[in-house]
């Protein structure tokens, strides 16, 4: 029993960190420009397919593929921002929600007609690591470590570099930042790009250990919503913690009750947090 619990905990922790990375992309975009990116799920799916295509077609090592996915994700995000989001950034919420949702529809529409909705998987193995009762597939461990690395990089970028400080300034007050000579529009596009890249990379990491379709992103998008609310909307580091909480719930709950109850608990928790502690479990400082 204890061994099983320990194994589920490790499993949940590792996948939770990757969930957290995906949610970080969503929360960064919300924190900077108050836009909920409803194209988040399809972008995660595109990240999965990026790694998959790189591996099967170009024969790239998935980790090299991830780098490529990150760069392409950044570019895609800048394009999405410029085409779909920029015009509605000051409009009521509904406009930006629908604008990003239409991007979602376009990606899913084109994606299903190219890739169909059959399952794919990246057939890549790193062996596994055993420690007492706990056995961890190498790809999962690597994915979690990489996710932590990316989080650290994001933290340093936001805290230590000039563009990162611009991002935080624009998040704080767009008008004032503009008056201080910060190119607000370019910073917004950059932030959207970074958020997109994070989601795509998280998708790529998930694809290394789980099968997926072009529609799989939807489930991870909903998880990201829950995580983002757990960690406080707009708080990237909170998102990592929220991801771990969600991963642990997914790991532990099936030990005690049927797996089908997991989403019930997740979404009830989600609504309760929104109602009782909308700033998230970990405060909402940026």
């Amino acid at each position: 029993m204890l061994g099983q619990l320990l194994a589920s905990l490790t499993d949940g922790l590792l996948i939770g960190i990757v969930y957290g990375l995906a949610a970080m992309g969503l929360t960064l975009i919300f924190g900077v420009m108050n836009v909920i990116n409803l194209a988040h799920g399809p972008i995660i799916a595109l990240g999965m397919f990026g790694v998959y295509l790189g591996y099967t077609v170009l024969g790239l090592n998935p980790f090299v593929g991830l780098l490529l996915v990150g760069v392409l994700g950044l570019l895609l995000g800048v394009v999405i921002y410029t085409v779909a989001v920029h015009r509605v950034i000051n409009a009521p919420h509904l406009s930006s929600l629908l604008a990003t949702f239409s991007v979602n529809m376009i990606i899913i529409g084109v994606g299903t007609s190219i890739f169909s909705t059959s399952f794919r998987n990246v057939d890549f193995n790193l062996g596994s690591l055993s420690l007492g009762p706990v056995t961890v597939p190498g790809t999962r461990l690597a994915a979690a470590l990489l996710a932590l690395l990316v989080t650290a990089a994001l933290y340093l970028f936001l805290r230590r570099t000039r563009p990162g400080k611009y991002v935080r300034a624009v998040a704080n007050n767009r008008t004032a930042a503009g008056l201080m000579g910060i190119p607000a529009t370019r910073v917004l596009a950059l932030s959207f790009g970074i958020g997109t890249a994070l989601a795509a990379v998280a998708g790529g990491l998930i694809a290394m250990s789980l099968p997926f379709t072009i529609l799989s992103g939807g489930a991870y998008e909903l998880k990201s919503f829950v995580i983002v609310v757990l960690g406080g909307l707009g708080n990237p580091i909170g998102a990592l913690a929220g991801g771990v909480v969600l991963g642990l719930i997914e790991g532990i709950v099936p030990v005690f009750m049927q797996t089908t109850w997991v989403p019930v608990l997740e979404f009830v928790l989600f609504v309760l947090i929104l109602l009782l502690r909308p700033q998230g479990l970990f405060g909402a400082q940026r």
């Binding site: 919300f30 108050n34 909920i36 085409v83 779909a84 015009r87 509605v88 409009a91 009521p92 919420h93 509904l94 406009s95 929600l97 629908l98 604008a99 949702f101 239409s102 991007v103 979602n104 529809m105 376009i106 990606i107 899913i108 529409g109 084109v110 299903t112 007609s113 909903l222 919503f225 829950v226 609310v229 909307l233 049927q258 089908t260 109850w261 989403p263 019930v264 997740e266 979404f267 009830v268 989600f270 609504v271 929104l274 109602l275 909308p278």
Partner: protein
């Protein structure tokens, strides 16, 4: 003539729905009836959503939860309790209204993005819960015995009955949305939409008004859900709480013009017509979702007021006759 003209907006809307609704009765063709059934179902749902979205300015992303719940409760009443369809439809609407009342008292405190997210959460929580709820059949849902249609004079007759029910509810939803718009209650909703804090200062009891708007916008979807799933003969969590349908409703309201009576009607008809065209065309069949997405994007970016809002902005005459 004068009062007739003053209410031209509602007459145009009602006559439009009525004309479309009566058309299949004239042609007696089941195929036209099915097409128009889909359109009127969307008209009813979109008009209800508009009461919350268009007048009050709260974006409900999970409005389909009321459709699904009404469907399930109605189905339960028909299948297990053996009630008549009319009673089941009413109880479906009542259940949805009750849920909205309970939710309204809690989640309507949230504003903007937080509210939108909460409605998604509610829909997903409900779907996950129903999948585990044995009296409602759990993950496989429930199925009607075919014999039940005999009580209504055979399956063919039952389908017509569902159709007329839908026409009535669509008309009622349009009528209520007009009455709300012209009432003091409607004014307080629109004040909330413009500036909730200012509205409260002016004496609008915002929590109460918002809750009633939420309840009103939930009742019709609940009734339509009961009718729809009676017609389908089967209900399961995936089809009852389909988040995608919820977002399609938002698109319809946006397309026609939020906050107008005529808008959701036109938006629903146009959207369903477009979908039908794209689905049947060999070229667009695979990529129809992308085309619809592109169209939506263009509307959101360039005509955010929707078709009716745009027309109203063109000429004073149109402002008078289009509601």
């Amino acid at each position: 003539m004068k009062p007739l003209l003053r209410h031209a907006g509602i007459w145009i809307a009602v006559l439009l729905v009525l004309a479309v609704g009566l058309y299949p009765a004239a042609s007696r063709s089941p195929i036209t009836r099915e097409t128009i059934f889909t359109v009127l179902l969307s008209v009813g749902l979109a008009s209800s959503l508009n009461i919350l979205l268009g007048y009050t300015g709260y974006v409900s992303f999970g409005h389909i939860v009321f459709f699904g719940l009404g469907g399930y409760v109605g189905f339960y009443a028909l299948d297990v309790l053996g009630w008549h369809l009319a009673a089941a439809t009413l109880v479906g609407g009542l259940a949805a209204g009750l849920l909205a009342l309970l939710l309204g008292l809690s989640i309507l405190r949230l504003r903007g993005a937080y509210f939108a997210l909460a409605t998604i959460g509610i829909n997903e929580a409900m779907k996950a819960f129903v999948s585990n709820f044995e009296p409602f059949g759990g993950p496989v849902g429930m199925e009607l015995h075919f014999a039940i249609y005999q009580d209504y004079g055979g399956a063919g007759q039952a389908l017509w009955m569902v159709y007329w029910g839908t026409v009535l509810i669509a008309l009622a939803a349009v009528g209520v949305s007009f009455l709300v718009k012209r009432s003091r209650f409607g004014l307080s909703l629109m004040a909330i939409r413009e500036d909730e804090d200012a509205a409260e200062v002016m004496g609008v009891v915002a929590p109460q008004a918002k809750t009633w708007a939420y309840v009103l916008s939930a009742i019709f979807p609940g009734m339509l859900g009961a009718l729809f799933f009676f017609k389908q003969g089967i209900v399961e969590p995936g089809s009852a709480f389909r988040l995608h349908l919820s977002i399609e409703l938002l698109v319809m309201v946006m397309l026609g013009g939020q906050g107008t009576v005529l808008g959701p009607i036109l938006g629903a008809a146009a959207y369903q017509r477009l979908r039908g065209l794209l689905l049947t065309s060999a070229f667009f069949k695979n990529i129809q979702l992308a085309v619809a997405g592109l169209l939506l994007l263009l509307i959101v970016l360039f005509i955010p007021a929707g078709a009716v809002g745009w027309l109203r902005g063109r000429a004073a005459v149109l402002r008078r006759i289009l509601e």
